[in-house]
């Protein structure tokens, strides 16, 4: 009878020889008991990461609650921030944060795209690599360095060569006069935006470059094969190819700018209230917290500062989450 073709039930173990017996005496694997523990440790570490983000949100919510419940909606709409009278409204800082970040982005994005496109599409190989490496290295420079540079080098130059002439030459009563009004010391919303844009520039250029390099060469070749100029290849083939990823990069840059503390705190002038010109001093959520937190006098002041932190978290989390979703769907 052919044992192999009988039904499942009819299975008979084959005769066992001595070798089989020695195998059964094989000692147990050493250290196997640690397997589930190790997996559990790894899982715990991953969970700890999750818990830390959760803890962050919860602690900000708890810490900010007294101020939020005390001021209600007016916390978000009022531009008054006065530690002396203990009245706090976040609108000025929120506006400062959004304005500096978006201006910084508007300044940095075209330049970052220019750099990335130049390095990937047009630059001779031999110098493209060193430049790319330099750009990536600069992306790692701590923001406090940018802040100091902004305060001591950039702000005086900016005041002397940009702010003063513009203010002097603005016709009285014109729109320009309103736009450029402010103390000509170089510490204002616009210089903060410029410093921010310089700070996020290498980062965005580096990520954009990597994104561009994911475009398969066939795509490029196909377009060139149709007689397109390099400009047309970039705008009509390459950009559409990485569109979602580019939006992701923009959001990442924005996320960085929104949460940046040091580079901004040095040069924004730290004035509360809604900024009324781009040359006015201002404050952002992060700079307000950095400047006042350790000196906060009352509990309500501390709580209001933490509430600012909560607002900042909600804004950046939304932006960063969108960025990651867009980037991951790009499979970059």
């Amino acid at each position: 009878m052919n044992a192999f073709n009988s039904g499942d039930e009819g299975f008979t173990p084959s005769p066992r020889s001595s070798a089989g017996d020695t195998a059964s005496l094989r000692p147990p694997v050493r250290g196997a008991w640690f397997d589930p523990i190790f997996e559990y440790l790894c899982l715990s570490a991953a969970t700890l990461l999750l818990a830390s983000l959760g803890g962050l949100v919860i602690s900000l919510a708890i810490g900010g609650w007294p101020a939020l419940s005390h001021f209600g909606w007016s916390f978000f709409t009022s531009t008054t921030w006065n530690p002396v009278t203990d009245v706090y409204g976040a609108a000025g800082a929120i506006a400062g944060t959004l304005i500096t970040s978006f201006v910084a982005l508007a300044l940095a994005l075209p330049v970052a795209i220019g750099i990335a496109v130049y390095l990937v599409e047009f630059c001779p190989r031999a110098i493209a690599r060193p430049i790319a490496i330099a750009v990536e290295l600069l992306a790692g420079i701590p923001s406090i360095v940018y802040g100091m540079w902004g305060l001591f080098i950039f702000a005086p130059l900016f005041a002397e060569y940009v702010q003063m002439p513009l203010m002097m030459n603005a016709a009285p009563g014109s729109l320009a006069e309103k736009l450029f009004a402010g103390i000509p010391n170089g510490a204002n919303i616009l210089s903060a935006s410029i410093i921010l844009s310089i700070m996020i520039l290498p980062y965005m250029a580096a990520v954009l470059r990597e994104l561009l390099m994911t475009v398969p060469p066939q795509v490029r070749e196909a377009a060139y094969g149709l007689g397109c100029t390099p400009f047309e290849v970039v705008t009509s083939v390459i950009v559409p190819y990485i569109k979602r990823g580019m939006i992701g990069v923009v959001m990442l840059g924005l996320g960085r700018a929104l949460g940046e503390t040091m580079a901004v705190t040095f040069v924004i002038g730290n004035a509360h209230g809604f900024p009324d010109s781009i040359f006015a001093s201002g404050a952002t959520l992060a700079s307000t917290i950095a400047n006042e937190f350790t000196e906060a006098t009352g509990d309500l002041h501390t709580s209001a500062l933490i509430a600012l932190g909560l607002v900042l978290f909600i804004i950046t989390f939304t932006v960063l989450a969108l960025a990651r979703l867009l980037l991951s769907s790009q499979k970059y």
Partner: protein, 303 residues
Amino acid sequence: MIDLADTATPAAAIMNEPPYDELVLEARNVDFFYGKNQALFGVDLPVRRNAITALIGPSGCGKSTLLRVLNRIYALYPGQRAVGRVVLDGEDVLHEQRRLPWLRKRVSMVMETQTGADPIEEEQVLRVGTDLARLRARVGMVFQKPTPFPMSIYDNIAFGVRIYHRKSKAEMDEIVETALRRAALWDEVKDKLHSPGLGLSGGQQQRLCVARGIAVEPEVLLLDEPASALDPISTAKLEETLVELKKDFTVVIVTHNLQQAARIADYTGFMFLGRMIEFGPTNDLFLQPKSDKTRDYVTGRFG
């Protein structure tokens, strides 16, 4: 073209004198699934002790898959699933039932009364238990590309042994030397045992992997196209090694090289589209194939 008419109803494999009385390992009616994709359809494979069994067949026919079932390496990947029986020394290794040994005992006792097997022997089998790690130590594996661990030649071999035994330095030295000698690598590396395994040539790395595999004294050694990345001289050395190893071990080898199968294998199975088409002594399979497909393949008409 090949006639696929019989794919709907799996035809039983043609079995030429399979060595049923000297088996160490047997796959029976194995189906395998990569998620929803079925890669094996009711495959049988008898593996004779102290022999070389070769698996041949066109690319994608499921040879690697079958090997990966035999030591359950597939279990690393969620979603991969095998159905059927794999019996190692009379013990079903595909269905781990460690959690409920008493239940398993009941079930098999019932089965025994039906099949009339010796209950005492089954009792012994049960005592062994099937532990995945131990199964893999009993059924070793060498892969297509050499996979030396990122450590010295010596440690590459000692690594596996240390998992099971605490050995003194002298004992370990001896084990390492024996393994390297058996794999025909000793003379080439005896002076640089403590240099990295990754520094060896491809062929040497592959023999190092064989040495590493046999150092833990497996009963069966599975090799998946071990020579495909090797030059002819290294291949010849590896083949010699395998024939030498046959004395102490059982070898199952997947190969695309029909001459290689003909040279070293005692038994050969021909697989096609996830099925075992024909199995038998190597000479019979190559010289008097019973299936048309086998004949077409071994005479080089396709594949």
